[in-house]
């Protein structure tokens, strides 16, 4: 009951937030929060550290951007197409990667993501270093003009809530129970008769699709798809967000994304702008050394309650 109240409170907060805070900033937080939630599904609930999630974020972004620019289809179709492409790519990459475990899994995903990076760097339709610029936001369902930031914000919020619900639903389903079982003790899950690789693969595809959804939405918000989205830095950033917020918690990625994006946003203009990577690095080290379960994880320990 208490938890339901928490959800209602957070939703109300999300609804009124753009009247106080700059909406584009909030949309950025929501996009990265969705990306981190997708990543957390894999790291926090299956125990798979993918180091190539930027490939899915970028694929969603580039496909949506290209379609919106070249064919002028409506934004919901553009986002669906971007998400679908990311899911397909996730299907292929996942099939190859789940054959390996631990550090090898991380390395395989990183290598595959680098392939994607060089593809987007060299392909003639992606604009190379320039990226896809000036992507129109279009009209939702052919009616609602998204060029207004407030309208766009509620559209992005709806997408985020859908993604968040997907993750929540997955984690709390019987399927999610098996994923957690795999995380806790894989040989035991095998001995119980589960085809572990198929479960991992399914989780990988869901995660990739949601990452693609985040990328597609981000492209519409910023009207730009660029190499930053597919660079391995981005894969690292999402690890930082998840660990900082608390991996394996439902709200962790949201909090982590909020903190990281806020730090990046407010420091890029100031005197500390040059030291941003150092500061992020120090935060990461402190987090890993001092509070390993992340902000939300530590908070849960403090109040002795599980918000999942």
């Amino acid at each position: 009951m208490k938890i339901n109240k928490l959800y209602v409170f957070l939703l109300a907060l999300a609804l009124v937030a753009p009247t106080v805070v700059y909406p584009v900033f909030l949309m950025k937080v929501l996009c990265f929060a969705l990306f981190a939630c997708a990543f957390n599904l894999l790291l926090g609930f299956v125990g798979l550290l993918s180091f190539g999630h930027a490939a899915f974020l970028g694929t969603g972004g580039y496909v949506t951007g290209y379609l919106m620019l070249q064919t002028g289809i409506s934004p919901e179709l553009g986002i669906l197409a971007g998400t679908a492409c990311a899911a397909v790519l996730g299907g292929i990459y996942g099939k190859l990667a789940v054959k390996r475990e631990g550090i090898y899994f991380a390395m395989v995903t990183l290598a595959l993501a680098q392939l994607a990076f060089f593809f987007y760097l060299q392909a003639p339709w992606t604009g190379g270093e320039d990226g896809l610029q000036g992507v129109p936001r279009g009209k939702l369902l052919g009616m609602i003009d998204l060029s207004d930031n407030m309208t766009m914000y509620y559209f992005v919020l709806a997408i985020f809530l859908f993604g968040f619900w997907m993750v929540h639903r997955t984690v709390h389903s019987p399927f999610g129970q098996i994923l957690k079982a795999i995380r806790e003790n894989e040989p035991r899950a095998v001995s119980l008769g589960y085809n572990v690789n198929d479960y991992k693969w399914a989780a990988f595809v869901i995660s990739a699709a949601l990452a693609g959804l985040a990328g597609s939405t981000k492209t519409l918000v910023f009207q730009l798809a660029s190499l930053t989205d597919v660079h391995w830095h981005m894969s690292g950033e999402v690890v930082l967000m998840t660990l900082l917020g608390g991996m394996g918690t439902i709200f962790g990625p949201l909090v982590g994304a909020g903190v990281v994006v806020t730090i990046q946003n407010y420091m890029s203009g100031g005197e500390l702008g040059n030291y941003i990577h150092i500061i992020m690095g120090v935060i990461f080290i402190v987090c890993v050394l001092a509070f390993r379960s992340g902000i939300v994880g530590e908070f849960q320990k403090l109040v002795k309650k599980n918000f999942n």
Binding site: E129, D130, G131, G273, N274
Partner: protein
């Protein structure tokens, strides 16, 4: 009741007055100029904090206020990333009331930023970007491109060499938008002057080992090896060329050379190399006077983009003063109808497509013996008239 009527009337009048001011005066009672540049990366030296200093100097020299309203300068680091830059500029114009954005270095960032600014009807004051796209295929009524572009570099450096009989060219090109644009336009200039491009090789941005590229250039038998790259890439490519003896068998031409790169190079390697620049501090008394002031504040001589940022800010503020408003359309019209004339802009005018046409300089790097100080880098060989240096205006970019 009466009192209420009075209040209402007063309120209505103040609203009317406020909207009246907005139409003809300064929006938000402040003129805000944003400076967006790479502050800590590979391009930090050619614009970066120096551009911020230059813009601040211009604001101070102008008097700190325009039409009775204060002028404010804000700055941000784009990290050479289009997404970072365009997000920052979007926030500036939508949330913080910025009227114009100055600086602008990496062409990829500038492309993204100018789109945001055009949508918001705000002015882009481009100081250091090289691509000519902002006044051609991506032209906009709100783009102002000062200092130089790839066309001026190609016409300034390449054409005289081809005319002097260096017909066979080979390019070592930085593998991204700027390098491709520079190689493309230089190739056109070579072919139209009767020369020939015998080959080209693409090196990624940030390459440190150029030996394989230099060997390919050497094997091509070209008269001239054009380096279509910039900054550290240019320096590394040139050093490697010297080590492999390429500089003795062929001419090596740097297509985009900034003063601080030229300064960092060993004169034994670089002496005699020709380059095209939009500005050189030691040209005459006017440039020396301004550059000395700049050096005192910033610690080094100005790069051409930094001098351009000052000149452009001055022209922008003068236009606001003359137009009586900071409304972008009125200011652009004013900027195009008056000719800029200062230490930087010689025989200059702002074309309708936003290209600022001015005299460019063909310089050559001095040898060690003839340098009088550490900043004494160039001999000025010739002045290239603006109409010869820059690309002609496209009809679809003729914004009245």
């Amino acid at each position: 009741m009466k009192a209420m009527k009075k209040t209402l009337l007063a309120a209505a009048m103040s609203v009317a007055a406020a909207t009246g001011v907005q139409a003809a005066g300064v929006s938000d009672d402040v003129v805000k100029i944003g400076v967006l540049a790479d502050m800590g990366g590979v391009y930090a030296d050619i614009c970066g904090k120096g551009c911020v200093t230059a813009v601040e100097m211009a604001v101070e020299d102008f008097g700190g206020t325009v039409l009775g309203k204060p002028i404010e300068v804000v700055s941000a680091d784009d990290q050479n990333k289009p997404d970072v830059g365009s997000a920052k500029v979007r926030q500036w114009v939508e949330d913080e009331g910025v009227d114009a954005v100055n600086g602008l270095v990496a062409s990829s960032v500038t492309g993204a930023v100018t789109k945001v600014l055009t949508d918001a009807k705000k002015i882009a004051l481009i100081s250091t970007s090289a691509s000519h796209a902002f006044t051609t295929k991506a032209c906009s009524p709100y783009n102002v491109h000062w200092t130089y572009n790839v066309a001026a570099l190609a016409n300034g450096t390449v054409k005289p060499m081809v005319d002097a009989g260096k017909k066979k060219w080979f390019f070592i090109t930085a593998d991204y938008a700027f390098g491709h644009a520079l190689e493309g336009i230089a190739s056109k200039v070579i072919e139209s002057s009767g020369g020939e491009v015998v080959g080209a090789v693409r090196a990624p941005l940030g390459t440190t080992d150029f030996s394989s590229y230099v060997l390919q250039a050497q094997a091509s038998g070209a008269d001239v090896v054009g380096l279509a790259n910039a900054g550290a890439d240019f320096v590394n490519a040139l050093k490697t060329s010297a080590e492999f003896g390429l500089t003795e068998t062929a001419d090596v031409a740097g297509l985009l050379v900034f003063t601080h790169n030229a300064k960092a190079l060993d004169p034994a390697i670089a002496a005699g190399m020709k380059a095209t620049t939009g500005f050189y501090w030691d040209m005459d008394d006017q440039t020396r006077e301004w550059s000395a002031r700049f050096k005192e504040r910033h610690g080094s001589i100005p790069a051409m983009g930094q001098a351009g940022a000052y000149s452009m800010t001055m022209h922008y503020l003068n236009a606001i003063k003359a137009a009586g408003t900071d409304d972008a359309d009125a200011v652009m019209k004013q900027m195009k109808s008056t000719k800029p004339n200062d230490f930087f802009a010689r025989n200059a005018y702002l074309r309708n497509d936003g290209r600022m046409v001015h005299d460019m300089l063909l310089v050559s790097i001095k040898d060690a013996a003839s340098r009088k100080s550490e900043d004494d880098i160039y001999n000025i060989e010739a002045t290239i008239p603006g109409d010869v240096a820059f690309n002609p205006m496209l009809p679809q970019c003729d914004f009245k």
